[in-house]
Symmetry: C2
DNA sequence: TTAATTAAACCAACTAGTCTGTTTATTTTT
DNA sequence: AAAAATAAACAGACTAGTTGGTTTAATTAA
């Protein structure tokens, strides 16, 4: 057996993600990653066959984290399973709390990739689409359990309301970055929470 | 008199914008632009000193268009100046209408640039920030005229509600592209219209 | 008659990726 | 326990092609 390569691989993943948030994927050269990590070219291409294999690994890792955020939201509100209306509101609140007290504007790898789609293969793009659809599915479920359409005075398109969550996240990240206002995302999510609350009021 | 360079310059601007929407700025080489436009290198650098000068011209043009969209929204609803509540709703409706019946997912150059910020100079980034702040300003005005905080049962942070408009646009563009659902943006804006309507109901 | 454009050669820096060889920790054999 | 073998992990020089950008001389069109 030989020495442990995991620290090296992890360092490449963490640092390159940060670089991509600032330069984009095409704008992040392998040499820049090497410079930032202090890792050599040999080591880099030992761990990742090509630069695009790194892109794939990055998005896979990101999607795993994303999924665990979703699961965390469900877990945190599990005790309210029998009060679906409160659960729905509290589910959103979990993420409002998670987005407050940020020191700098957040970023999303899905958005980064989507802004230069042609750089990536279909599998990578599918992974992004499916991750977003997971949020849609989960939210549709929460909205249906809260019987939102029976309670609301106006008719609501549930799937698109479900999408609002991801839409506001993605949009807030961009505006937060463009204006350099780290607390913007939490504020934006608050409006989604308000909207749902107003819809649920008979 | 000499011959007119405008068609050449315009072609570079239009085609390079389309390329940036697919490849990002760093991923869009000058050679690719030449290939797509059929223009020569000499002509390209005759019109743009550097690739980053093109970036600047592109965002300036984009910001001008953006501003005229804002003005168009105000113009279209000018007849309701004395009914600020209806005007506010109708202002949003103008953009819902503008975003329905799209054939393909829309894109935003502000978002493209923001996803690879380090490629651009401060002036370019400032132009983006200021363009977004124009929307904020306009919307704050519309919201105040509609006396939203006097009418709403819950307390509303007006500036962040104003930002919702741009946030939903930006977020919807990304999700629309990631899922390849052209009509997503219009649907998302509809929820913003609903939200404001609910807030305005005493 | 002058600005706009072509065509092609050219450059230095940078690009992703390859290659050969070395280090390192563990396993096997003695 | 010491020596030898193994293979993963890593080093870094090198390559072939691309990058943004320059130059220059001839040509085109209003």
């Amino acid at each position: 057996m030989a020495r442990d390569g995991k620290p090296t691989r992890d360092k490449i993943l963490t640092e390159s993600r940060a670089l991509i948030y600032e330069n984009g994927f095409a704008g992040t050269s392998v040499d820049k990653i090497l410079e930032k990590t202090g890792i050599t070219k040999g080591a880099f291409f030992y761990h990742f066959k090509t630069k695009n294999h790194l892109a794939k690994s990055l998005i896979e890792e990101y999607a795993r984290e994303d999924k665990s955020h979703l699961e965390h939201g469900l877990e945190e509100t599990k005790s309210m399973e029998d009060r679906p209306v409160e659960r729905l509101i509290d589910f959103v609140q979990v993420f409002i709390d998670g987005m407050s007290t940020l020191e700098e504007p957040p970023s999303c790898l899905y958005a980064s990739y989507t802004n230069e789609t042609s750089q990536f293969d279909q599998e990578t793009k599918d992974l992004i689409a499916n991750s977003i659809l997971e949020w849609r599915k989960t939210f549709i479920d929460l909205l249906k359990q809260a019987k939102i359409n029976e309670k609301s005075k106006i008719e609501i398109d549930i799937p698109s309301l479900a999408d609002q969550f991801v839409v506001i996240f993605e949009g807030a990240f961009i505006v937060s970055k463009a204006l350099n206002e780290p607390d913007l995302t939490a504020k934006q999510l608050t409006h989604l929470r308000n909207y749902i609350q107003l819809l649920l009021k008979k």
